[in-house]
Amino acid sequence: MSSTEELVPRVRAYVLSNFPVADPGAVTNGASLMELGIVDSTGLLEVFEWLRDEFSIEVADAEMVPDNFDSIANIAAYVGRKTAAG
């Protein structure tokens, strides 16, 4: 189990290394990855695949909401909740 604070750098490293980002410094942890065009629908599926490979998390249909995946901080918080829940 990891805290959200511990997870943020890991999620950030994944996002910045896997998606086209012109200026990594401009992407705050709370910025909307979808509004910035960093993660689109296919990118979202890649995030899900990464969550499955890295954390053994299977994202349920009902969990597919922006509050869980629209920013680095949201993804980290989601992973924290899921891993804490076991």
């Binding site: 998606f19 689109d40 629908s41 599926l45 490979d53 249909d61 597919m64 922006p66």
Partner: protein, 280 residues
Amino acid sequence: MGDRGEFFPCGSRRLYGFLHEPRATEAPLAVAPAAVVFVHPFMEERQDAHPFLRSIAGQVSARGLWAMRFDLHGCGDSEGEWEDATVASWLDDIRAACDFVRAQAGVERVILCGLRFGATLAALADIGGPKPPLAMIQPVVKGTSYSMDMLRAYLAAEMVLTRKAGVSRDALIERLRLGETVNVFGYHLTAAQFDGIRAIDLSHSLASYPARSLVIDVVKTPTARASNELTALVAAMGPGSTLARAVEPQPLYAEGKVHLTRAEQVELALLGWLEALDQP
């Protein structure tokens, strides 16, 4: 005549194919004359995989074999509407492509190579005669999972577009049952396609595969876990089947940070397997 694109018949439709003539600009493979027919992945993956398939087909022809790429019914430049295609019609397309390349190349032997769902279709195709040598790059093994992934792609697109929760996959299946289609990356998935895909299980269909085969597990990093599913598939296929691992940091069939022009480890695995194909 050189490399060339041509339409060829499949029933009443025309499919578009691209032939790579053997050039042997590099050391020829020590294998009997043959044509390698490549089957593309589906939907969004087809577009993203195009540079890779073009590259690897070129590598094969540079080593002295014919290579052919083509567009399945309702895809790319081939005729026909996507909604009218079924798993059965896509399998017919592969047969037609093999017949065409045999006639054009003057070789009887065809080797099938596919990527993702293209590999799955290649594995199931009846191309006449005994089962062909088969190379599958990251194949879809279970249609149940793949069909649900397609529906998930719809949900992902809906979430990105509307910025809120969408319907469930169960609701999408209900729509299919009512005769509606589900728009997956612009392709209208039909109930017939969905059911045809769901029925596929390569572990069952390819048990004790009678010809040589290669399964390439493509991973992003050297430390990535091996696919249990592909390991089990190779075990089910029997002693003529080989499992190879290719580390490719850039995706072969998805948008990556860098435009992929070559997938060297996949090429090495495929060319090495072709080289050893006729050895006991």
